[in-house]
Amino acid sequence: MTKQVEKVDRVIIRFAGDSGDGMQLTGDRFTSETAAFGNDLSTLPDFPAEIRAPAGTLPGVSAFQLHFADHDILTPGDAPDVLVAMNPAALKANLKDVPRGGTVIVNTDEFTPRALTKVGYAADPLEDGSLDGYKVHRVALTTQTVKVLEGFDISRKDAERAKNMYSLGLLSWLYHRPTEATVTFLEKKFAKKPTIAAANVAAFRAGWNYGETTEDFVVSYEIAPAPMPQGTYRNIHGNLALAYGLIAAGHQSGLPLFLGAYPITPASDILHELSKHKNHGVRTFQAEDEIAGIGAALGASFGGALGVTTTSGPGIALKGETIGLAVSLELPLVICDIQRGGPSTGLPTKTEQSDLLLAMFGRNGEAPVPIVAPRSPADCFDAALEAVRIAVTYRTPVFLLSDGYLANGSEPWHIPDVADLPEIAPNFAAGPNKVHEDGSEEFWPFLRDPETLARPWAIPGTAGLEHRIGGIEKQDGTGNISYDPANHDLMVRTRAAKVAGIAIPDLEVDDPSGEAKILVLGWGSTYGPIQAACRQVRRGGQQVAHAHLRHLNPFPANLGRILKEYDRVLIPEMNLGQLSMLIRARYLVDAVGYNQVRGLPFKAAELAEVIKNLIESDAVAKVGV
């Protein structure tokens, strides 16, 4: 049978199954194949907080969405073109997201009466017309996999488990993915169990061959590689990029990296990653709690290390007092908050941007802390370097506000040339800095650099610079304890001025026509959806500008001017309006919020709709109807 090959410019696939079905692994492998093929891509894993949620239930469904294209893309996609549903729960939980006309591949083996009842299907959706209007492929994935693996000396359970590789093989055939890397990967992953490795490879190949031979699939698809700038690329997750950024910052500053952390989703992978790289001089300390994690990091900073702590919202709540101490001590410290849904334990595995005001204000007293936010998974690398630059240059704790979507999402990363990375100079104090009238010299730990207002960083081991500092208010200059009212006023204002004066780049506005009347202002991980939405709006002939904040404290110097240049400012956020509140208070701009806290990134199409409505209502308002 000859098969048709169709060229398409982009595809969104969602793999969905039970937590135990290996959907994340399947998605990861498909992503690697796709990256190696040279498509642009963006991924969105979406999994339950439970390690093995009850099998076959709706809460137990684990999904992985991948968007790949022959051109530059920004998001994991709004709605899947293809859904792979490994069981009725996966179908039920995900079908509503697939537009009519979309492709649904189901594992019919799992559609037993019991499994159907478990998720509340009164009738079999494969039979009752629920799937009318979809291109449905019914594949007995489990049976076919087990059959293929009959000759292997493995348990039935292990054979059944390989069905995810069978489905990966089928999808790989469907989209012409390269397969060698997956074979190598499986051989490496199961190196200690060669039979299992061979079985998985066999299942993978069988899936491919099934696509090739079955009459059920008559068309396969080609998505050409995307044009990308010259260079070497790899696919990278946000947490990995963040960890690499920290290691790179250690190299660039010459400071030994010290991570103090307590495990918490979705930040733990940074701890896991950093603990692998001891040959880069990285020390990782799994503390007894979040307070000890940041305490140890701060102690290490006092000793001249690059102190870092990684956590999520609940951990930040615990670290507040120590962050205040770091503000008072004026020592470098990087606090990575991989935000997740809150309050309290909230939605551990889902994304949200609701810690912005916590980072901004969540401490007693006037305790300003600079805030840096990455905009995409790969950007976590640069954002980490920037956070370290500020922390070291200005002797201050710095917040790095990532989130669950960035942490677990991935995209191609243009690997930077190490020679191009910024230098970060710790400039440790080496001698006395205060000359008295009589010519005698002394070291004053709070005598500031007039330019940056940073204080000297004198580390133990430096003779002659012994000094004592603490969280009690310090006298300007000497650093001695001082309760003097005027001094406290001065110190509070000086600490604020230091943070307000941090040198950061101006904000750039993306407004290709220069004629937009509406500005969409975002921060952090909403970059992709907002930019994609703006492109959609522009394709429709309307104009809109987009500016995206990397620095949330201080704000870029030109932000106020930019805001005033537009008739309306729209601020989409995955919270109830935290950046909006800051912008309105600071610039007296009547910004409009668009807010969602669904634990998932924005959909570009939805945002585009919001932008269009605003453009239209604004135009109407101006005409004065």
């Binding site: 190696a36 690329y233 790289h277 990091a297 290390a305 133990p460 003779a463 012994e466």
Partner: protein, 339 residues
Amino acid sequence: MPELLKLTTKDFKTDQEVRWCPGCGDYAILAAVQGFMPSLGIAREDIVFVSGIGCSSRFPYYMNTYGLHSIHGRAPAIATGLAASRPDLSVWVVTGDGDALSIGGNHLIHALRRNVNLKILLFNNRIYGLTKGQYSPTSELGKITKSTPYGSLDAPFNPVSLALGAEATFVARTIDSDRKHLTSVLQAAAEHQGTALIEIYQNCNIFNDGAFENLKDNSVRDRHLIRLEHGQPIAFGAEDERYGIVRMPDATLKVVPLEQAGDSVLIHDAHAPEPDLAFALSRLPDPATLSPTPIGVFRDVTRPTYDQLMADQLDDAARKLGSGKLAELLTGSDTWTIS
């Protein structure tokens, strides 16, 4: 080394006005520590004092070394980061009974079990001094204070027992006013590799005056104080009324008149691999009267230190994998190239 450095007590004093109440036991401890430091033979710049919050935690301001006065209860955690990343430093923690055992209890036990190279001086005055006299986790049951006008309800911690239970490798107790004993314990702690916990009975003459009077008053203290010395019989008492400690068949310890005890008086073994004797000794005093109270080194055993193990892992990794190359790391193994 000490003779090379030629430091004196004066070298360890700062120009800061000491702000404890007149008569506070903290003065005596400060004087003893300042007097002891030169004998360490460690340069001032290689010594760091880290403290939490409390009267006692003002200590670093008065030591002419590096110093960090941190936040309530967190000094062991902060010092852990410092000591783990700078094994070359001599790191001392100063803390109070509230600081170490109430708000900072978690950090204390974990520092002890990790055996980070820290010397922890726990100033136990059995009261909250800085916040003006509330009862503390070491106050005797039924203690009447501002916050417990009808008497406290919670049983106190015995810091030595607690530390032994937390896998501490070095545990000692001493008294603020006994400079010689205090200095000898500091000496032993300084020589110990790993976390050393020294409980120092400290008089707060404002809010809990005389809490340790039985152990200090020349005329009675011999009757209440057991001076532990490694390898020596565990005995105490006035000239005419000596007692020895013996182990009963049920393994408990008992105080018996010395002549009656004869050869069965226990010999103190601070280096015993198991902490059972040390623990039993820590249970001897009556929590209300503190009699009889053993002082000295309860336990001093060797276990690898956390900071050393951490440094070894880094060295091992560098030896096996070579010193980390950034470009190699960033590139990884799964790349593609667009030319």
